[in-house]
Symmetry: C2
Subunit: 175 residues, 2 copies
Amino acid sequence: MSFWKSLFNGQSSSASAVTAPPPPLNGNGQEGVIETKVFFSTNKEIDVYELEELCDAVGWSRRPIRKVKKAIEHSFIVVSMWEQRGQYRRLIGFSRATSDHAFNATIWDVVVHPDYQGQGWGKSLMRQIIKELRSEDISNITLFADPHVVNFYRNLGFRPDPEGIKGMFWYPNSR
Amino acid sequence: MSFWKSLFNGQSSSASAVTAPPPPLNGNGQEGVIETKVFFSTNKEIDVYELEELCDAVGWSRRPIRKVKKAIEHSFIVVSMWEQRGQYRRLIGFSRATSDHAFNATIWDVVVHPDYQGQGWGKSLMRQIIKELRSEDISNITLFADPHVVNFYRNLGFRPDPEGIKGMFWYPNSR
């Protein structure tokens, strides 16, 4: 836990970098070791086509690029997660939060590339966005979790329906 | 239902006005009939001290005025509800929503003065903020409902935990 803890309690910065183990050698084992890093960025100037590729990889429905751009622009915090191997940089995770910049934030669009799932990178991404929100003095951090990720968020300190508070969605046709 | 329906389906405007029955005559019954209207406004230039009085009336905890101002400023939509009797104007309801301006909105701080509860004004206020959000092409309207108001929101077309989606809150001390 010490890695996550240090990441979480670290100084607020727009990017944190950690060095991951080098990739396994392939073929005849003659390659040199390529340094591999995973880092986070809060830069909103993200390539939305690269983001779309990431969302495609997890099977999300396509959304109009224009609206995705607008949503990112008007999100309070955007945290993207990148893997860098030598000169090559790849978007491997993304999350963003809407907020009133004072009390509340709601986290949306948490996505981790399937190649990086199950290895703690999702937790790392979430801890990073929580850290960013806390550094902005946001005390009420919320989200809406699909059933299969409720336990993932629970392990990060999120509680479902605390004191009976219910997340609700408006359906125009159900009125 | 025709009144609510017309309010809800009406053209998008920053304020809607309806005429309520005149107030009951008091004392010796000599007063003239004072016209009473309830209207809505999306103006963010709201007197936060008046808002604080309204929140006090329903027993909410006090919040720092500076943060309340900031939250209103960074809300996507603010809808206030006012009663006007002759020259006298009174804030009787309030709601606001955060949003990414593209896909999602979350409604916060829905409050109706106790004198006006149980008469349909809360529903009217909610229909107004939903109308404003829909007019901005927001398709995913969400909120977090305290247990005693889940049915109030259900009657407005909100569904708790649709497809098992859970509203979750982060608690720093539960980690």
